[in-house]
């Protein structure tokens, strides 16, 4: 029986010729990641191992992105712990205020991950790098600590769902609409413990930004990882970002899948996930007038330059609706700089939006845009659980940057197709 992309990468990293779903393996790691929330716990656990060095100072990255610039004293203490650990261990890829960005946007941008890698991160959206043909998955702080110590992690080899893409996206429809559509179809545990493997003739029409967004939210379907076949766009991206040498793994022709999903990209419409689960996906024929108080455009899901360009195209020369607070967060310093050079910041500010320094901030209800009781937000983030962005009586609606921008203009949840007729 053949292997899937994920199974081949895991076998190679465990020194095995073949693996099958359900096997428990110990795999070597190409990158171990943590942030300012999860790393302090990992550092505490690492100390229990009594080691005075990490397995490889080049293969660990710590990124201060969740509560920075520090939102309070406790957050400052957590960053201090990370900073001092990285200094003691001489960690090469430590990113702090000034050169940090939201981890899952920053890591590909810095070329720290390449096709064929095995990556663990103490952050659930680590699955983002599957867009580059890597196996990458979220773990907890103890796994991070052990990964830093021995450069290995245990995995149960997953089975897979194959997602066969055809067609091309229509204008103002993006990767966010695709993944919300898929989660709407299979549910928040629809891919539990499994890989989501994306490929097919429609793949070439998807930008890398779209692929990052789709892989990023594989976890919202419960998946262990999301992974894309590599093509000329992947290679171009890796080349442009100075990534180390890569290895492409293709699924065997006889690889076994638990299920196959067929997605015609041409049929995807602007999609919104209603509170309080990402699986509550609706298209605009099912959406009535829903008044909103806030819009957030940013996050590891949708804070890339392409996302800001999509929002700017809609906001350009228009003004956001009275009473709506619009917060735009470029995911990295580079995205911020690009947005400035491309004139996007001017468009945002003239439209009545604010632009923040990179941070995960409001996405997880940390700071920089917390919701009050009864308030509603349309956001390009990834979770809409109860209380995710503030008060337990607030509501989060997940959408694409285009839909979020269109909604900012009208003050109600609005399709980009309506304002860009």
């Amino acid at each position: 029986m053949g292997m899937t992309m994920t199974q081949k990468i895991l076998a190679a990293h465990a020194g095995l010729s073949t693996v099958k779903a359900g096997d428990l393996i110990l795999a070597s790691l190409d990158l171990v990641l943590g942030n300012d929330i999860t790393s302090p716990v990992a550092i505490k656990e690492f100390a229990k191992l009594g080691k005075d060095s990490v397995f490889d100072k080049e293969k660990i990255t710590m990124i201060m992105d969740h509560f920075v610039p520090n939102k309070d004293i406790k957050a400052a203490e957590q960053c201090k712990t990370c900073r001092s650990f990285c200094s003691d261990m001489d960690i090469t890829h430590f990113y702090d205020v000034g050169d940090m960005g939201i981890e899952h946007a920053l890591i590909p941008e810095k070329g720290l991950v390449t096709a064929g890698d095995v990556v663990i991160g103490a952050d659930s959206h680590t699955c983002t790098y599957g867009a580059l043909g890597a196996f990458s998955t979220g773990v907890g702080s103890t796994d991070m600590a052990c990964g830093m110590a021995i450069g290995k992690a245990w995995f149960k080899v997953p089975s897979a769902i194959r997602i066969e893409l055809t067609g091309t996206l229509r204008p103002y429809v993006s990767g966010k609409d695709v993944i919300l559509h898929i989660i709407g179809k299979i549910g928040v545990d629809g891919a539990l413990y499994r890989s989501m493997e994306f490929g097919g003739k429609g793949l070439s029409s998807l930008s890398m930004a779209d692929r990052f967004t789709i892989a990023n939210m594989a976890i919202e379907a419960g998946a262990k990882n999301g992974i894309f076949e590599t093509d000329y766009k992947t290679l171009l991206y890796l080349n442009q970002h100075g990534s180390k040498s890569h290895k492409i793994y293709e699924a065997d022709y006889d690889a076994e899948y638990d299920k196959k999903l067929y997605i015609n990209l041409s049929e995807i419409e602007p999609t919104v996930a209603f509170p309080h689960l990402p699986e509550n996906a609706k298209t605009f024929n099912e959406i009535e007038d829903i008044k909103i108080d806030q819009v957030v455009i940013g996050s590891c899901t949708n804070g890339r330059i392409e996302d800001l360009q999509a929002a700017a195209e809609i906001l350009k020369g228009r003004h956001v609706a009275k009473g709506v607070r619009v917060i735009i967060i470029p995911a990295t310093q580079q995205v911020y700089l690009d947005a400035m050079e491309q004139g996007l910041l001017k468009i945002f500010i003239e439209s009545g939006a604010v632009v923040s320094t990179p941070t995960c901030g409001p996405c997880l209800g940390g700071y920089m845009g917390i919701l009050a009781d009864g308030e509603r937000a349309v956001t390009t983030t990834n979770r809409n659980f109860v209380g995710r962005m503030g008060h337990t009586g607030s509501e989060v609606y997940l959408a694409s940057p285009a839909t979020a921008a269109a909604s900012a203009l009208t003050g109600r949840i609005t399709s980009p197709w309506e304002v860009m007729k």
């Binding site: 110990l26 999860t38 245990w154």
Partner: protein
Amino acid sequence: MKYTGNAIKYGDNVDTDVIIPARYLNTSVPSELASHCMEDLDKTFVSRVKQGDIITAGLNFGCGSSREHAPIAIKASGISLVIAKSFARIFYRNAINIGLAIVECPEAADDIKEGDSVEADLDNGIIRNLTTGREYRTSPFPEFIQKIIENGGLIASIANGAVK
């Protein structure tokens, strides 16, 4: 491993944001985390949970964020075991790695009611509802995971050379 306690029952898709809201993630002290455990789902949890109590839940328990603070908060609040129909995968491995006992058993998760007295013998894969007398079967952990748990979690397993 045997666990005995009273059941506290929840539904499907209990996410880590309600287990321990992100506004409390500026600390990793177990007792502080425990004092806010389940706060956004069940404000009564902290005041009524007793040492040894058992959580029973539906599908996809622990979905969402990878925060290890979630199983840490549950363990520090006194919960001895979580029985669910299924677990989200990061929560599952975090629980094993920090030594919070968990078990998948859809039948028990459905049948056990709030407040029932429950006894679980995970070595032999038997869960007993002492209130109703019903018995449910589970599969024991694979050997590799059993080894991690027996050694007291992943850190201890690496420290004593059981995992290299």
